[in-house]
Amino acid sequence: MNWISIWAIYRFEMSRTFRTIAQSVVSPVISTALYFVVFGSAIGSRIESVEGIGYGAFIVPGLIMLTVLQQAVSNASFGIYFPKFIGTIYELLTAPMSFLEVVAGYVGAAATKAVMIALIILLTASFFVDLRIAHPVWMVAFLLLTAVSFSLLGFIIGIWARNFEQLQLVPLLMITPLVFLGGAFYSSTMLPPFWAAVTRFNPVLYLISGFRWSFYDMAEVPVAISLLAIGVFLAACLGIVWWIFRTGWRIRQ
């Protein structure tokens, strides 16, 4: 492994984050605070508890997942799309690096940023609601696995996208609806049986359920299945990245 090169990309991407600290960190924190006000206080005041947990606390894992997914995908996709767009990708392609090292640099930076923001939101949430974390190690594991897998997805989207519209398309049309319908703000047990069954086809449900389990020790689906779902998703993304590496798809003519 060529660590110096990976570190160069990682540091470059992180410095981009710190240069645009306002957009990078402040805006997700503000939007999360808004969710707390709207869902936690306004609506939550009419819902006493979900499965014995205060509504405000109940939505915290879902909110963090929403942000991690959005941040991971948008950071990684933008990170690799921008050099393609302005043409500086020639440097990555002529550097003595393997494609997987390039991926490690970009995905590492995107995942780091997503986890950082998740932790900031967690901290923000602790001011609003009474938080407890039943399985901290698993909480971190879920967070890292999710951040890495969705950063990989973002990287793939960045390679695939031919313009800025396509770059926005997936986060907007897929991630947000899947998270909203994946039980970020409710338990699927609150749904009529038919819709509860449909929800089972939403992969994000398994992520949120597993993550929520690490907080409150309660899950809609068995934790092992949640882990399996992330594992399969991670493997699929790695497979696609490997295929891109073999074929040079949309990067090398």
Binding site: I4, S15, R16, I86, E91, T94, A95, P96, Q253
Partner: protein
């Protein structure tokens, strides 16, 4: 000594069916300046792109410093610096950070003292903390060169280094290239300015329609193909070349007021003495004489026309 870059039977055709390179073979010697000359779309950039790893060849291979550019790409690429034709640069970054970034990408440990030297030599040191977006076009191009030199490459590719660059900067660029060559860097530049190739290169390769038409030492090329032209301004215009001197490469120009004689400087006899005597005999009197050496441009044009027809 084995060549530092060896291109062997390289071909590239795109999915659209366009053949960009057709069975190109080329050896580049260590320490030389090789100019690749050719019209737009001749395949110059494709050739460079394959050597540097941007484009995958359809067939053939490239050996750089003894390493295959596909199988042993790490060793091959670490010897190469590329300055692309387009000015592609991280607009929001500072000059110093961009150069550090490239050095890191090439797996070299940070060495700000060395980077200072590079930036000094390009008159960029004062601008090290400026953002790339604040620089002029010429400055940006220098940043690209600084980036390419940041990891101390042994081979430098300059793709159209002076396209759209003003005369002063072009002179600076030429000086820089010579200095690099003196430091032992092998330089390959593409250009469609013949003046540039003539000014800079040790050897010249002519590419057209994806084929290398010739690679030749510049001096020898000029000598071999260089023809001289004698222009004779006439006292009285002629309607046709006099019968007594036809078949010697004479032609009339400027409505018969100028007689042009093409001759080979390398031939044993140029035939000038005889020609002038014969002209006098035919009653043609010459008012003024002027001779000129054909430039690389003439050589190039005649070569392209000859092979094209």
């Amino acid at each position: 000594m084995s060549p530092i870059v060896s291109v062997e039977n390289l071909s590239k055709s795109y999915a659209s069916g366009t053949v960009a390179l057709a069975n190109v073979s080329l050896d580049i010697e260590a320490g030389e300046i090789l100019a690749l000359l050719g019209p737009n779309g001749a395949g110059k950039t494709t050739l460079i792109s394959i050597i540097c790893g941007l484009v995958m060849p359809t067939s053939g291979r490239v050996i750089v410093g003894g390493h295959d550019t596909v199988k042993d790409y790490r060793a091959a690429r670490s010897l190469i610096g590329l300055v692309p034709q387009e000015i592609s640069i991280e607009v929001f970054e500072t000059v110093m950070n961009s150069v550090r970034f490239t050095r890191g990408l090439f797996g070299k440990r940070p060495d700000d003292a060395y980077l200072e030297q590079v930036l000094q030599s390009l008159s960029l040191w004062d601008k090290r903390d400026a953002r790339n977006m604040e620089l002029s076009g010429g400055m940006k191009r220098r940043v690209l060169i600084a980036k390419a030199l940041s990891h101390g490459p042994r081979i430098l590719f300059l793709d159209e280094p002076t396209a759209g660059v003003d005369v002063n900067l072009r002179r600076d660029m030429w000086q820089l290239v010579r200095r690099l060559r003196d430091d032992g860097v092998t330089i390959i530049l593409t250009t469609h300015y013949i003046e540039e190739a003539e000014e800079m290169a040790d050897r010249i390769g002519v590419i057209d329609k994806g084929r290398v038409m010739l690679v030749e030492d510049k001096e020898r090329l000029m000598r071999q193909l260089g023809r001289k032209q004698l222009r004779m301004e006439l006292q009285e215009p002629l309607a046709a070349v006099p019968d007594s001197v036809t078949g010697r490469g004479l032609s009339l120009a400027e409505e018969g007021r100028v007689l042009i004689y093409d001759y080979d400087t390398q031939a044993e006899r140029t035939g000038i003495t005889r020609l002038i005597a014969d002209l006098a005999q035919a009653g043609v009197s010459v008012r003024d004489l002027d001779s000129r050496q054909s430039s690389l441009e003439d050589v190039f044009l005649s070569l392209v026309e000859e092979r094209g027809s």
